[in-house]
């Protein structure tokens, strides 16, 4: 199968401070890759390098075989959609107006969305199931609905690759599953290649067919979630003890769940958590 997005020997540093080195990642159509790792391990920075906001120091990113840096911003935006973490919005645009912005890479400098563009917008709203919200102000809908709006906007770009930065953070349980179900459906039905960062190993087990565990600037493991997400690997990654259990269920078959165990943190544990939880590069 041909590669949608391919990272080879990716290395990036902020000045002297190296964030990651020699990372390799390759996604085909329909792949969903979850990036797991502690706060500040560079997950978001990696996404920014994959999208072209940041430039790798070494290595390269190929988008459908073409060098990412050789593409203009507009050409990139036609192939790659990026859904940011919770963001500030200063004007109360309607949901439909926000999704319309996704058409920008397909429009000339002086154009405004045409009737065809509006059809694509409506289609994107349908796909994520928020057509009924289209006239509501974006500032007055729930967090889950906003996240769906941003996914719809990315879909309106008609991308081949979708990058999502912690799409489930700040959302309630039901909305988390709604977003995950949407992402999974998009990858299966539209053949999108999806890379998402998350703090929940369970989410990776639910939707991804590949997981990368990111630790100290490299992938500690990369592979099928069932193989990669183990009691041992999570202990190393997060410094906590977990049980991994398999559950049989009549309707949905087998599923695997991660059960974290609470134990008293020792002084050496506290010393290990050195990265600030809200640092600028925190992932």
């Amino acid at each position: 199968m041909s590669s949608r997005i391919q990272l080879s020997r990716g290395t990036f540093s902020y000045g002297e401070h190296e964030i990651f080195h020699d990372l390799d990642l390759d996604l085909a159509a329909g792949d969903v890759v979850c990036l797991l790792g502690p706060n500040g391990c560079g997950k978001t920075t990696l996404l920014h390098c994959l999208s072209g906001f940041l430039t790798l120091d070494r290595g390269d990113v190929k988008l459908e075989g073409r060098d990412l840096l050789a593409l203009s911003e507009t050409e990139r935006a036609r192939r790659l959609g990026f859904v940011f973490q919770e963001h500030h919005i200063h004007f109360s645009y309607s949901v439909s107006q926000v999704v319309q912005m996704g058409r920008a890479p397909h429009l000339g400098f002086l154009s405004i969305p045409s009737k065809q563009d509006m059809e694509i917008v409506d289609e994107a709203l349908e796909t994520v199931g928020i057509a009924h919200l289209q006239d509501r102000p974006y500032t007055e809908i729930s967090g889950g609905e906003r996240q769906l709006t941003l996914i719809a906007r990315a879909l309106a770009q008609k991308p081949r690759v979708l990058l999502l930065d912690e799409p489930t953070s700040h959302l309630d349980f039901g909305n988390q599953m709604l977003i995950l179900a949407t992402v999974s459906r998009l990858a299966r039905k539209s053949g999108l290649a999806v890379i998402m960062t998350t703090h929940f190993p369970d989410h990776a087990l639910l939707v991804s067919n590949k997981v990368a565990l990111m630790r100290r600037g490299s992938f500690a493991a990369l592979g099928h979630p069932q193989d990669v997400i183990t009691e041992g690997s999570l202990r190393t990654l997060y410094g906590i003890d977990v049980h991994i259990i398999d559950v049989e269920h009549e309707a949905s078959g087998r599923s695997r769940a991660v059960v974290p165990l609470l134990r008293r943190a020792t002084a050496s544990d506290v010393a290990k958590i050195k990265a600030p939880s809200h640092g600028s590069a925190a992932g």
């Binding site: 999208s51 906001f53 050409e75 940011f84 319309q100 912005m101 002086l110 405004i112 969305p113 102000p137």
Partner: protein, 338 residues
């Protein structure tokens, strides 16, 4: 669909408003003109109508009232549309077109022109050039690593504005207190009392170009208002778009200030009224601001020449009317975000 219908109707009404006020404004003033005479005089330019009115009527209509009304229309439209574009670009509804120091620069330029020459052409040219210069300096200070972060633009605008205000004070301080100083002070208050045909000819073309430019990129301002990074992820060349918006807006504001002095509040207040009427979408907000701004400044100028027997400077009225109205608006719209 019904909603879109309603909006078309509303926009139609918005554009009818300045046209109505233009018509009305011809009759205001010390020299009485009847409606029939007005129509006949205006039509005589296009149709062969024999002249049965005194030459004075023709002079009043074409050399005094028409240029003044049209200038008020252009300036009101221009300042408002620049304000709306800047508020979107800076992601802040409390921004006005002079945030990059254009009015401070133009004020200094005009004062310098008054000090060393006093001819209208010199004053206007100097005001325009220093207005543009102030923005160019702000823009250059804000360039870091080949990008223009919005916060840097705001800060450098404040710095440049402060420098030009200080230089303006210096000129006032050294100016002859009997002739030059009053001229500077009156100029700074802003007025269209001396608006002439040649003012209209010099200021209107650059203003119209700037307004047209902003209207052409109006939809992209929506995307710019989501922040640099998000706009870039949507394929927008943010630096190029910002530079274009600053260029158009500066063309408009510097031209406006150079012919009529400093007129504040229009560019801040009108976009808020627009947002209240048509919503935040810049695709509709910018045309609405053009119409509202034009109507507003024509109305204020009508007040300035009719309220009392002497003229009230325009800048004073826009602040006296605009500021309390703005207070009312921001209370209603909770900071202008809805």
């Amino acid at each position: 669909m019904a909603r879109r219908h309603q909006r078309t109707w509303l926009l139609g009404a918005l554009f009818a408003l300045p046209l109505f006020l233009v018509g009305l404004s011809f009759f205001l003033g010390r020299f009485p003109i009847s409606p029939t005479t007005l129509v006949r005089v205006l039509a005589s330019r296009l149709l062969p109508i024999p002249q049965d009115w005194p030459d004075t009527v023709e002079t009043v209509i074409f050399n005094i009232r028409l240029p003044r009304i049209l200038l008020a229309l252009c300036i009101g439209a221009g300042l408002s549309v620049s304000g709306a574009a800047f508020q979107g670009m800076f992601q802040n509804p409390l921004v006005s077109p002079d945030i990059l120091g254009v009015t401070a620069g133009a004020g200094f330029g005009a004062a310098l022109g008054i000090l060393i020459s006093g001819s209208t052409t010199a004053i206007q040219a100097s005001a325009f050039l220093f207005g543009v210069l102030a923005v160019v300096i702000s823009y250059m200070i804000s360039r870091v690593y080949r990008t223009t972060p919005t916060m840097m633009l705001v800060l450098s605008g404040i710095i440049v504005g402060a420098i030009f205000s200080a230089l303006l004070s210096l000129i006032k301080y050294v100016a002859d207190p009997h002739q030059k100083l009053p001229a500077i002070v009156f100029w700074l208050m802003g007025s269209l009392a001396a608006a002439s045909k040649s003012d209209l000819m010099t200021a209107a073309p650059p203003m119209l170009i700037g307004i047209a430019g902003l209207l052409l990129v109006r939809w992209r301002i929506n995307i710019l208002s989501m922040g640099d990074q998000e706009a870039r992820s949507l394929g927008i060349k943010t630096d190029r778009l910002k530079a274009f918006i600053i260029f158009c807006s500066t063309l408009v504001t510097a031209s406006a200030v150079s012919v009529c002095g400093i007129i504040g509040w229009v560019g801040l207040v009108i976009p808020h009224i627009g947002r209240m009427l048509v919503g935040p979408d810049h695709k509709v907000l910018l045309p609405a601001s053009v119409a509202l701004g034009a109507a507003y400044l024509i109305l204020i100028d009508d007040l300035s020449r009719t309220l009392i027997s002497a003229e009230i400077p325009l800048g004073i009225l826009t602040a006296i009317v605009g500021a309390p109205f703005f207070a009312f608006l921001v209370r209603r719209t909770q900071g202008g975000r809805r």
